[in-house]
Symmetry: C2
Subunit: 268 residues, 2 copies
Amino acid sequence: MSAKIVHNGVFLLPVQRIAIIGSGNLGVNLAYSLEKAAGLDFAGIYGRKERDFRGSDWQVRIQRLDTRLPQADCYFLALPDDSLASFTASFDFGDSLVVHHSGAKALSEIESAKHTAVFYPLQTFSADRIIGLEDVPVFLEATSAPTLRDLENLAGALGAKTHHANSEQRLRLHLAAVLANNFSNHLIYLAQNILEGSGLAGDSLNPLLEETFSKALKIGAFDAQTGPARRGDENTIARHLGLLDTPALRTLYRHLSDSIIETYSNKK
Amino acid sequence: MSAKIVHNGVFLLPVQRIAIIGSGNLGVNLAYSLEKAAGLDFAGIYGRKERDFRGSDWQVRIQRLDTRLPQADCYFLALPDDSLASFTASFDFGDSLVVHHSGAKALSEIESAKHTAVFYPLQTFSADRIIGLEDVPVFLEATSAPTLRDLENLAGALGAKTHHANSEQRLRLHLAAVLANNFSNHLIYLAQNILEGSGLAGDSLNPLLEETFSKALKIGAFDAQTGPARRGDENTIARHLGLLDTPALRTLYRHLSDSIIETYSNKK
């Protein structure tokens, strides 16, 4: 895994034949990118059940993984976090590179294999909305410098922007992603739910959401903050609390407001 | 305020000469839209202090409001919620229309005036990022049907999309906007803060944020939900909680995760 060959102008990677194990949201998105990448040999995507996966402009056959691994230089383990260790221990990967994609698990999680690395794309993936890796920041970690270089080349061939992060930094990235993505998405669900419960169209919020996120990216979320908590308007906060149906939602609203109040009382 | 005149193809509104009182985020954004609208006579924007406000492609002179109101058919009160009632009571608006823009205050807040209405744009406004009202959903309420029609015409001339909402519905809209906009923005700030504290670039989150909101709008936030809480992955939740610095942040993380767990245990 060290010599680099250029053939007919196509850059051939030392890690060239890649198989994906796992056919969930991440697996099928990675399959899309690997199949479209030039200079890589996609050895297929493997899951528990054989089936055809159809994207809007693309399809791929998911093969059944039996007791034998397909032949590959590199295995992408697009598996649930908690099955990474036991899956890795149950196969002999020989000299092939074994890669996991988890934000929350350390590189050592798959240490039963000889050559290991992490390829963590900071993005949210859904099987019913396939996206490429272009412009996705991918955070890499590997047990050796040559493996890290191989992985950088591989990520480059997929169009991803690479950075390095050790296992603890990656867990912080994952935490940040959960706050910014999973929790924001849930708040949007709660908001859409309130509108629908009031006989108002849920999509009335769309222009607001577009502006919110465009603004947070452009001027930074600290400066973009507005609203009753930012102004310390306890009167409006009390009236909102009065509208919320459950103690759990009222507690959530109160804690988020207090966190905003606390943020702006300490800074600036 | 009822006859409609068409002059040289320009639709002249019965409510034609509009003055804005208040030169904060909302006031200057409304001034931009009113000054650019055809068929309306913008009587100017008034605040506590005289000054020139400069947007990127536009500027306006903010005039000082003394003891006398400028002459207008309609006054937009772009004032803090808590000063709406006392401001309205301290002037004689005669037969002119008095309009407030608050999501949280009832129409009755300004009942000391003779003709009153609410024009609530469901959008977040900043003075350093001026936007037009095109495509902004504006929720209207008025004390009489003719006033409501006048207001609809006025909102139409500003390019806004109009809907009707009574004072209680509007408070729910405002609550939904706080959840979806203010609270999401704060979570993005917390996420950017975690990255910066770990020596990682805060803008690494940008592609994730773009995908999150594009997905929530396209397939709905309920179906777009991913993450440890959605999967019930208490192991990862515990590791994230271990990284958070303060009891307040840990409480916030726990409540948001529980709200997601609760949402998906009851439905689907």
